[in-house]
């Protein structure tokens, strides 16, 4: 047997049975004799390390073996490797038998704000055209009527200024919801978001913070060109001190926005213009919230994990649908929160499927998919049967021309191709 060891020495004991295949990287395969030791002294070595943790790992590993008969199943002693992780179970969010209503994402967001404003006087909304015009995309429709001009405030076009005003108000006890007409314009304000909102809890040694929500449409809209079409998920997800949320469905939009408004941290809440008009089932509950930081298995499957968020979910789900027709069962995970990432849910899925494709509309370099791929590599390397593949927007500013715009955005076809590649079906 040919082995590569970090140290030179004499093998005292071989830990792996003869002819074992698929030995995971970092698995101890043999023990070297220390000076003056002989091989008999190694007889009682417990290859598992004996810890409780490792016992759990092995349980998970064998459970995994049942669900998938492919490749690497061994646990590993590498401390960064996750095994036995628990996936978040989103099915408990809506109690069985709850009445559901069809509602657009736009209405769900408005209801979330209205409910929180009713129950907490400190909550107010400000932004361009949010009051009298009822919102540039009509998300704040009706709020001025119900809550009045004190709490629903039209600002001048002055993003850097009013974002800072929001942060200051949050320092001083209010719970601002700052609407950006689109997140493209939040670029004017990104200094206040990153330097003031995100860092003050830390810089003040925990004395002061900015519990608030920055929200608005993010990502590509249709045919509005380079300056109005881009995804900022990765930008904000880079920043410690921020929570970053990007819902896909109306129910998630509502439950997550309510949680975001209550959260003690600055939350970047990324909506999508194209999703505003789409309708989904929303539970009829007095106070429906969804925890931040938890992903959702939007569709379960065993063959491949597709991870996405927000608008990306439309590609992911449609691809999964088509793949099912071809006999490939994709598990689709909706991140919902991008920072912090719910890696447990993703890893648990990858342990089952051994393959992963990420989908996002943003640019590939340093994108959400890049981060997911790095973490999956670090935490579930031994479970992977193929490299993680990223489907993303192309590495260009968004073109205006209809045909180029289509090419610049990800497509269902690209998701299917990526799945075919990681399942070696292409």
């Amino acid at each position: 047997m040919e082995v590569e060891a970090v140290d030179e020495g004499v093998i005292g004991k071989i830990l792996i049975d003869a002819d074992t295949d698929n030995v995971a990287v970092n698995t101890p395969i043999a023990l070297l004799l220390e000076d003056g030791e002989d091989s008999a002294s190694l007889d009682n070595y417990d290859a598992s390390g004996g810890s409780e943790n490792t016992a759990k790992e092995e349980e998970a590993a064998s459970a995994k073996e049942e669900s998938s008969n492919s490749s690497a199943s061994a646990s590993s002693s590498g401390s960064s490797v996750s095994t036995g992780v628990d996936a978040y179970d989103a099915s408990g969010e809506i109690p069985e038998g709850t009445e559901m209503v069809k509602m657009s994402v736009r209405e769900a967001l408005r209801d979330a704000m209205a409910e929180e404003m009713r129950s907490d006087e400190r909550v107010f909304v400000m932004g361009e055209e949010v009051a009298e015009y009822q919102g540039a995309y009509k998300v704040t429709q009706g709020l001025l009527d119900e809550f009045g001009a004190k709490r629903v405030i039209d600002t001048p076009i002055t993003e850097h200024g009013f974002a800072g005003v929001g942060v200051g108000a949050a320092f001083h006890g209010l719970r601002p919801i700052v609407e950006f007409m689109t997140f493209n314009f939040a670029m004017q304000a990104i200094d206040q978001i990153v330097n003031s909102a995100a860092k003050t809890r830390y810089m003040s040694g925990g004395q002061m913070a900015s519990p608030m929500v920055f929200r608005g449409p993010n990502g590509a809209a249709s045919r509005v060109g380079a300056q109005h079409s881009q995804c900022f998920a990765a930008w904000y997800a880079h920043v410690p001190g921020l929570i970053v949320v990007a819902p896909h469905t109306a129910a998630d939009a509502k439950g997550l926005l309510k949680s975001a408004i209550r959260d003690a941290n600055p939350v970047i809440f990324l909506e999508n213009e194209i999703l505003y008009g789409q309708s989904f089932d929303v539970p009829v509950l007095d106070d429906f919230t969804i925890p931040l930081g938890k992903a959702k298995v939007a569709r379960s499957g065993d063959d491949v994990t597709i991870v996405s968020f927000g608008m990306g979910m439309t590609y992911a789900l449609e691809a999964a649908e088509k793949l099912a027709e071809e006999g490939v069962n994709a598990e689709v995970i909706d991140l919902r929160t991008i920072r912090p990432l719910d890696m447990d849910t993703i890893i648990a899925s990858v342990q089952k499927t051994n393959r992963c494709v990420t989908v996002e509309e943003g640019w590939p370099q340093h994108g959400v998919g890049a981060e997911l791929s790095a973490q999956i590599m670090e935490k579930a390397f031994d479970y992977l049967d193929a490299p993680v593949l990223r489907v993303s927007g192309k590495d260009v500013p968004m073109p205006y021309a209809a045909n180029l715009e289509k090419l610049a955005l990800p497509s269902v076809r690209e998701v299917i191709d990526a799945v075919n590649a990681v399942t070696y079906r292409s």
Binding site: P156, M187, H228, Y400, N403
Partner: protein, 332 residues
Amino acid sequence: MAKKASTTRRKTKKVDKEEIQKYYRDMLLIRRFEEKAGQIYGMGLIGGFCHLYIGQEAVVVGMQSAITEDDAVITSYRDHGHMLACGMDPKGVMAELTGREGGYSKGKGGSMHMFSKDKNFYGGHGIVGACVPLGTGLAFSQKYQDTGNVTLCYMGDGTVNQGQVYESFNMAELWDLPVVYVIENNEYAMGTSVKRASSQPELFRRGESFNVPGEQVDGMDVFAVAEAGRKAVEWARSGKGPYILEMKTYRYRGHSMSDPAKYRSKEEVNKKRAESDPIEKVREKLLNEKIYTEDELKEIDKEVKSIVAQAVEFAQESPEPHPDELMTDIVA
């Protein structure tokens, strides 16, 4: 500091015949071009945002008469009129609106993002306020290179509330940059009237604390615009630094194509159109002073219409950009 802001209502001085004819033609071209753009937007040939300039034609046509071809122009997303006034080809502008290969940005920029190095038109910028430091930078370079040129830097009434506008005013005055800031006060920024967004609604005074002189002008009167423009451009060109012109104007159409326009009444719009249409005003003058007959004006109308029709034809026939264009022009 002597440069105090003041309001001036100008009496129209004698303008020569050729100049009046040109004003009329140029304004009419913008009007007809924009009407057509609105039409073909409705037909689905133009996508996304499309901000029409109808009602504001006198501002850009009057200002253009005050500069030379070597001076620079920069504005926001409401830019079709500025490009036509700069002498850019209506075909290339229209084809950019339809996102075709023959457009000024090869179809990659769209309505809000168009440029012509050739005509010294520096865009076409979609982010409110961004063009103001950029225009100031153009003037910085003009001064640095001692070209003797000036920059016309246009912005809206809503735009003047962006912080970078004041950072620009300060630098421009501090460094005596040859820039004329033209505030096109069409009374609304989307659905927000000036008085709901501006603590100082007299926008020509917005440079006072930086010692930038300012002046309010009847922006529906192309002669008044031209005269104020000449004075301001002369000021900037002679090395005295920036100048602010607040043009009182009005947009007849919605902010963009999807604007329910509940923030103002139909009567308000109709009254403006009826009482102070910039093109009607010149038309009357042309007839009253017997520069043209009704028939001759009809002839001009026809010519302009045909230019626009050709532009539309070109914009429909020009092919979509080649797919390879997706990955070009990103870095050099």
